[in-house]
Amino acid sequence: MKRRNFLSYLTAGLLALAYLPASAQEPVRIGLDAVLTGPGANNGERIREAAQWAVDLINEKGGVALPDGSKRPFELVVVDDQAKPDVGLSAIRRLVGDKSIVAFMGPDWSSVTYPTLFVGAEAGIPQFTSSVAQRITQEGHKHIFRARSTDTDWMGALADYLVKQEGKKKLGVTYANNEFGRSGRDVFVRILKEAHGLDPVVELSYAVGDKDFTSVAGRMIQSGVDVVVNLGNQPEGALLVKDLNNLGFTGLFAFNSADSIFLDLAKSNAEGVVGPLSWVHTKPDDKSKAFNEAFQKRFKRDPIGHSVIYFDAVNMIVDAIGKVGPSREALLKYLKSLDTWAGVQGTYHPSAPTGDMIHASVVIRYNKDLVPEVVSVRD
Amino acid sequence: MTTPLLHVADLTKNFGGLTALAGVHIEVRSGTIHGLIGPNGSGKSTFINTVTGVIPPNSGQIVIDGRNVAGLRPNIVNAAGIARTFQNLRLFKAMSVLDNVLIGEHRHMGYGLGSALTMRNGEAERHVKDVAMGLLADVGLAHRAEAISGSLPYGEQRLLEIARALATQPKLLMLDEPLAGMNPTEMDRVVAILRRIVARGVTILLVEHAVRVVMSVCDRISVLNFGRNIAEGSPQEIQGNEDVVVAYLGRRRHVA
C-alpha cells in the first residue's frame, strides 16, 4: 500500500536530512523499473520495498562507500512500466537518460524487458533483471545481468521432482499467454521430453487477467491428468487451483509462482501445491535465515523470491561501487570480470558470458499449515 | 404551367396506431406561393417531413418536377429540387453565417473530399463564396457573414435559414413557420423577401400560423385537418369555407 511507500520516503528523507552535513555532495543514484500498476503490481510492490529497504540500510550505515573510503548518500529512482512494453521503454529511457544513475534494476516482466534491452545496451549501463525468458540473455547483450535462476534451472528441478520423486507420468500443462508463461512452458515441455521421455497429456493456455478458470480446470480433469503444471502469474494460479479444488481435482498442482503472494491469494487452496522457486524464506542455510529474520522484523511478513533478488542486486552494485566507483563504464567492466559474488540467494557468477549469473533454485511444497517446505534444493 | 411543380397524391403516414396523414393530395403550381394551414396536430409538419424525406411515407406519391421522390433520402430529395426550413430553427449553430450558406451549396461544389485532398479547390471555393455572399445580401445578412450563426438575433436566424435553403438551388422552397415569433416589421421584411424569391422563379410552399400573412401573400391555400385535405382555394374562398371555420374554431355542441 502506498502509505508504506510514503513512510519509506519519509524515513529516507529524514535520514538524508540527518546526514546532510556529512555528505552535502550529489548522492549516488541507481534506478529501478517495476510494475507498480496493473497486473503484476503484486511483484512490483515487493520489488520496490526490497530495493528501497536495501538502499535504506546502506544509508543507515552512512551511505555508499567509494573506493577512496569516503561515503555518499545513496538514492533509488523508481519508475513504473505498468507491465507494458511501450511504457517500459519510456521508463527505461528516463532512467538511462539521467546520467547520475550508474546502474539500474528491472524490468521484471519478460515482455517488457526484451524490448528495453537495446536501450540499456546503447547506454552501456549495467542492467539487472529478474525476468526469466530465455531470449533475454541469448541475443548477445553485454550489459544485462540476470539476478535469478533461468527457466532451464527450475523447470529442470520441477520436472525431476514431479517425475522422479512423485512418480507422476500424466502431466497436464497450462500456461499464461505471456512471455513468462510461454517461456516456462517451452522449457518445461522440452525438459520433460529430453530428460524424462514424457509428453504432456494436454496443454492449455489462458489469458492474463482471466477470472473464471472453470473451463481450464474442467479440461484438465476431463483429460485425467494426475498433475496440473501451471506456468504463469500468481492471481491466475490462485484462481485456477481454487477452481480445480472446487471441481474435485485430487491430483497435484505444480506452479512456478507459488510464493507467498500466491499463498495470500489462494489461502487454504495452497495446501499441497508444489512449486519451483529461485529462493524461498524457509530455505535452511544461514544467510537465508538471517535475511528472513531481518525482513520479518522490518515488514512483519515473509519475503518472497523477488525480495532477495533485488536486495542482492542492490548490494552487488554497492559492493562494485566500493571497488571501482560510481561510473557506468567502470561498473560494467568490473562486473563482467567478477567471477563470484556471494548473496543471500546463493553464489552469483557475474562474469558468465550470457549474463545468467545464478542457477540456484528450490522446489517447495505447502504443508498442512501452509508453510512452504523445501523438498529439493539446487545450487 | 399545366403540370404542377409538386404533385402529392394519396400521401399516408402512420405512427404506430396514429394516422398523421391520411391520403393527402396537394398540387403546387410553379411560380406561386402556396399556403398550407391547419389547426394544431393537423399534419402540416408531418407533411413537410414526409415530402422532404426526413421520415418515409407509408404510401403515396411525391412527384417533384416529374420525378417521384417518395421514400428517398433527404439529400436525394434535395437534389431533386426541394429545399426547406425548419419550424424550430435548425441552423448549424456552431458555424459561421457564411459557412451555413456554403453548406447549402454543398452539392454544387462537387463532393469536396477529392478536391480537398488534391488541393485544387481554390478557384471553386472562391466562386461558391461569391454566390453565398450574394444570397446573404439578398436576405440582408451580408454584413453578418463572419458571425457565429447561433449568436444572431432570432429574426436573422430565420432569414439565414431561408438563405441556406436557397443555396441548394431548389425549384421548390418549403418554409415551415418562417414568421413564428416575429414582430410586424420583421414580418413585412420576410414577406418582401418571399415575393422576391418567387419573382426569381422559385416556387414556395408556406406553412404558417400567422394566418393574416398567409391570406395576404399566398396565391392558393390548402387546409389540412386530421391529416386530410379539407379545403383548397384562394384566400377568400378559404376564409369563407365553413369546414375551415369549424376546423379552427370548433363547433357549438348546442346550437344556440
Binding site: P85, S111 | G53, V54, L91, M95, G112, A116, A165
Partner: protein, 326 residues
C-alpha cells in the same frame, strides 16, 4: 485567429529549434508526443468535428503498426512501401467500422469501437502465425532516407515532425473544405444537413476511413521508431488516453489536439512528484473541461480574454444564452 499567431509561431519555432538540445529521454518524449498528436488529430476528425465517439483508435494504431512492421521485417519491404500498405489496410478497417457508425451513435458507438479495438488486440495476441503473438515483432528497421540516417533520434524527430506538419496541413484543408463543413454540419444537426443535400452516410464513412488512415500512418511511424511491437502496447488504455488528449486539448481544434498530446504526455514527466496521481488528475481535468471549458485548454486564453473584456465593459460574457428548463 490572428491574435494567436505569435503564440503559434513561438510554438513552431520551439518545436524546430529546441529538440537537438534535449536529452535522449526528452527527445524520446517529444517524438512520442508528435506521434500521439497525429493519432489525436485522427480521432479529432471523427469525434471533434464529426461528433462520433471512438474508443477504438488503438485498434487502427495497431493495424497500422503491425502491417508496416510485419511487411518490413518478414517480407523485407521498404518503409516507403510498407507504410502506404499499412495506411490502405487501416483505411479499409475504417470502412468496416464506418458502417456501424451510420446506424449507431453515442454510447452504442462507444461500445462498438471498444469491441473493435479489443478484437484487434486479441487477434494480435492470438493470431500467432501472422503477428508472432505475445513475442511481438522486433528489429523493425528505421525508414531509409537517401542521405539522412533516421537511426538518429534527432533526425527521426524531424522526420515525424514533417509528417505531423503534413497531417496538420491536410486536416486544415479537410476542415475548411466542403467535406469538413459537411462533417461539422452533421455533428450540429444531422437531419438539417441531409435536407441541405449532404449525403450523411458517405460523409460519415469517409470520415472514418480518413481517420483510420491517419491513425494507421501514426502506427507505421510508431512501429519504425520504437522498433519493437507487442500487443500490450495497444490496449483500451491507449484509446482512452488519445480520447483524453483530444478532450483536454480541445475537441474540434487542430492546435488543441497537438496541445492535448503534449500536455497529457509530457506534463506527468515534468511533475514527477505527481506521477502517482497523474491519471487521476487527468480524469479530474477531463470532467472540469466538460463542465466549464468545453473548448478545451486551447480555448482557455480566448475564454479568459472574453471574460476580462466583458468585465471591462461591464457586460455579461458573450456565452450563448441558454434556456433554463427547470
Amino acid at each position: 485567429m490572428s491574435r494567436h499567431h505569435p503564440f503559434y509561431l513561438a510554438a513552431i519555432l520551439a518545436a524546430i529549434v529546441i529538440p537537438p538540445f534535449l536529452s535522449d529521454y526528452s527527445l524520446h518524449l517529444v517524438i512520442m508526443v508528435v506521434i500521439f498528436a497525429i493519432l489525436t488529430l485522427s480521432l479529432n476528425l471523427i469525434s471533434g468535428y464529426g461528433g462520433l465517439i471512438s474508443l477504438g483508435h488503438a485498434g487502427f494504431f495497431l493495424i497500422g503498426s503491425y502491417t508496416s512492421a510485419l511487411l518490413s521485417v518478414y517480407q523485407g519491404w521498404p518503409f516507403w512501401l510498407s507504410m502506404p500498405t499499412a495506411i490502405l489496410l487501416t483505411a479499409t478497417s475504417g470502412l468496416l467500422l464506418g458502417f456501424p457508425a451510420l446506424r449507431w451513435t453515442g454510447h452504442f458507438l462507444a461500445v462498438i469501437t471498444i469491441a473493435f479495438g479489443s478484437i484487434a488486440q486479441l487477434l494480435s495476441v492470438n493470431w500467432v502465425f501472422l503477428t508472432n503473438g505475445i513475442d511481438g515483432v522486433s528489429s523493425i528497421p528505421r525508414p531509409p532516407l537517401p542521405g539522412i540516417s533516421l537511426t538518429s533520434n534527432v533526425n527521426y524527430y524531424y522526420f515525424v515532425l514533417i509528417c505531423l506538419a503534413f497531417i496538420v496541413y491536410l486536416m486544415m484543408r479537410l476542415v475548411a473544405s466542403g467535406f469538413g463543413r459537411a462533417l461539422r454540419a452533421i455533428k450540429d444537426d444531422e437531419t438539417a444537413a441531409a435536407c441541405m443535400g449532404i449525403d450523411v452516410a458517405v460523409t460519415k464513412v469517409s470520415a472514418f476511413v480518413i481517420s483510420a488512415a491517419i491513425a494507421g500512418f501514426a502506427g507505421a511511424l510508431y512501429a519504425h521508431y520504437i522498433r519493437f511491437l507487442n500487443p500490450d502496447s495497444f490496449s483500451l488504455d491507449v484509446s482512452i488516453r488519445i480520447f483524453m488528449m483530444m478532450i483536454i486539448g480541445g475537441t474540434g481544434s487542430i492546435a488543441g489536439s497537438i496541445l492535448g498530446s503534449f500536455v497529457v504526455y509530457v506534463l506527468p514527466e515534468v511533475l514527477r512528484p505527481l506521477q502517482d496521481y497523474y491519471y487521476l488528475i487527468w480524469g479530474v481535468i477531463v470532467i472540469l473541461v466538460m463542465l466549464f471549458l468545453p473548448g478545451g485548454l486551447i480555448s482557455l486564453g480566448s475564454v479568459l480574454r472574453a471574460k476580462m473584456a466583458a468585465r471591462r465593459d461591464k457586460l455579461d460574457p458573450q456565452v450563448g444564452s441558454t434556456e433554463t428548463l427547470s
